[in-house]
Amino acid sequence: MAFRISRTGLLFALIGLAGLALPFVQFKPNRIVPGEGLRLFDALSLPLGWMIGLVLGAVLIAGCLERWPARLRLTVALLSVIAVTLALGAAATQLTPPDNTLARVSPSSGFWLLLLAFALMLADAQSRITLGLPIRLAMLIGAMVLIAVILGSGVLDGVSVMREYAARSDLFAREAAGHLVLAFGSLGLALLIGLPLGVAIYESPAMRRPVLGILNILQTIPSLALFGIMIPIFGWIAANIPGAAQAGVAGIGLFPALVALFLYSLLPVVSNTLTGLIGVNPATREAAAGLGMTRPQILVQVLIPLALPVLLAAIRIVLVQNIGLAVIAGLIGGGGFGTFVFQGLNQTAMDLVLLGALPTIALALVAGIALDLLVEATGGAPKGGQA
């Protein structure tokens, strides 16, 4: 029986072993000064650090072998991700001197590499198993519950990012809500304007070039430049048009951030609406008209249901894009997780930057996966239906 080496397994092992060799955490006397790096073996108390380190190392090396069943690989990778996370929490608890509120233990390159190695292994194993939609949905919910349980249990409370969180838990809830308002609000606005616009340029082909041209130009304006343009314009409007300021118009803050994200969302929504509608078999549309459906009936009963998978793909693109882009709103006082990122950058407090960045990444991942599942649920079944 030949023991074949898995190339991906080898890559994961190299990443993970580098992680074991590099500092797992940074121990800092306070939140700003650079700290002292500690490897996993040194970060935890004597038998525990070596035990976890050796087990993880063994898993990584064993993962190089091709012969693992994918389900076993999936389970082991998941357990390893949990182990690495819990090790971080344990290291933070053990290293922080009691009654010292200034000292900080932050995750360092070793932790991130180990997490990356096992996350890749997890994703790789998952992609090799063909799982049904309900199971994958259950897995997504399970992962979210697991994260909530780990965070809620307090095992990570000693870690620097969680210390930053503890100091700002009220603010965090507010900025989280702000982030969601920015991402979903701009998506909602884009759908409200973009869907009818997409339908309109489908009905009148002459308008396609100019409309898509303008949206394309909007898309290429860098976000900072867009803010630069909007601040004086909206500032002027708020100051000079009665009622505008009361309605929320302002040069800085939530309003321009929402407008910027909305403008960036228009192109994907409009162009995907158009693509989806054009993709409907002309014979189907012809039949709908010939059977006596009115234009609104054709649109609602035939065109939109058939274009739905492409529309959902647009929603996915826009939502994931906007969750990421919404960080930039922090720069002009628009709220959202970007607030922590830019505060952290100003204070050179990387832990605070992470407090903004990590939930943003998690949110984008969850939104992306959830919408992928939705696209598959609506578009996967009737494929090949059109001759």
Partner: protein, 311 residues
């Protein structure tokens, strides 16, 4: 009765349909034949106002179609097209019941109608009702397309190349079935085709169109024996002409007294079938079911246009 009066359609500066007038009697089949670009599809689409006429009018049982809202007009007229145009996201039953639901029939009414139509088209309702269109064969999709067009019991059915996507064997069967169902329901049918064979097989009247103009409108035998222009004779194809002519008449019409050897042929078989049987079995006379014979000489006489003209 469908009266098409001086119908014209102009796109830009070119007239794709020029001053066409023709009448289709109730319960008859009219076949619009022509090459692509002849204006036959545009003419058809002006009847249910998918295309608005530039000039002229269409009367259905004496009523001007321009006076009815287009979508309400279309709900009264069956419409089936090439590639069937079934809604891929709806089941067979939902597809068929499209027009009844637009007309506000009750659920019981349109369910019963779906089952009735599926049975008419020889598809077991319990088996086919809930299938999606992509789970059907090409021939089944085509039948569902026609069933959908007939769902609200229209008096007029328009078909644009309905058999265009079918292979020859299934097509012949589908044509026969359509003919039977049309006779049974008494529906007036206007069918667009580029295939003269199909027009001769199905049509009580054939309208030949070229470059937007109606060249000739008459029964198949007239089109075959006295084509109005060289274009019409080209479309018929001179090689097949005698056989097409023979295929129009059933054996029953030329039965003579006498006795003959060998297998009998049915009374409703066409003269073409009789000729083929004569040639194949090497006989010069065939016995007909129920008595009498057909002779090779009489078949030969029927195949020549002069004989027809003398009738």
């Amino acid at each position: 009765m469908i009266e098409i009066q001086n119908l014209t359609r102009i796109y830009g500066t070119t007239a794709v349909v020029k001053d066409v007038s023709l009448t289709v009697e109730t319960g008859q089949i009219a076949a619009l034949v022509g090459t692509s670009g002849s204006g036959k599809t545009t003419l058809l689409r002006m009847i249910n106002r998918l295309v608005e006429p530039s000039a002229g009018r269409v009367l259905i049982d004496g009523k001007d179609t321009a006076e009815i809202e287009p979508h309400l007009l279309r709900r009264q007229i069956g419409y089936a097209i090439q590639g069937h145009g079934l809604f891929p996201h709806r089941t067979v039953a939902q597809n068929i019941s499209t027009v009844p639901r637009l007309l506000g029939w009750t659920q019981d009414q349109h369910r019963a109608r779906v089952d009735e139509l599926l049975e008419l088209f020889q598809m077991e309702p319990a088996d086919f009702r809930d299938r999606m269109p992509h789970e059907l064969s090409g021939g089944q999709q085509q039948r569902v397309g026609v069933a959908r067009a007939l769902a609200a019991r229209p008096d007029l059915l328009l078909m644009d190349e309905p058999f265009g996507a079918l292979d020859p064997v299934i097509r012949a069967k589908a044509q026969q079935d359509l003919r039977d169902i049309q006779r049974q329901l008494g529906t007036t049918l206007i069918i667009v085709t580029h295939d003269m064979e199909e027009a001769v097989t199905l049509g009580d009247r054939i309208a030949v169109m070229d470059k937007g103009e109606l060249l000739q409108y008459g029964p198949p035998s007239e089109i075959l024996t006295t084509p109005a222009t060289s274009f019409v004779s080209d479309l018929i194809g001179t090689g097949d002409r005698p056989f097409r002519l023979l295929s129009l008449t059933p054996v029953a019409e030329i039965i003579a007294e006498g006795q003959a050897e060998g297998a009998e042929i049915p009374r409703e078989a066409s003269l073409r079938d009789a000729l083929a049987e004569c040639l194949w079995s090497g006989r010069d006379r065939l016995p007909v079911e129920g008595g009498g014979i057909v002779t090779l000489d009489s078949l030969r006489a029927q195949a020549a246009p002069t004989a027809r003209a003398a009738e």
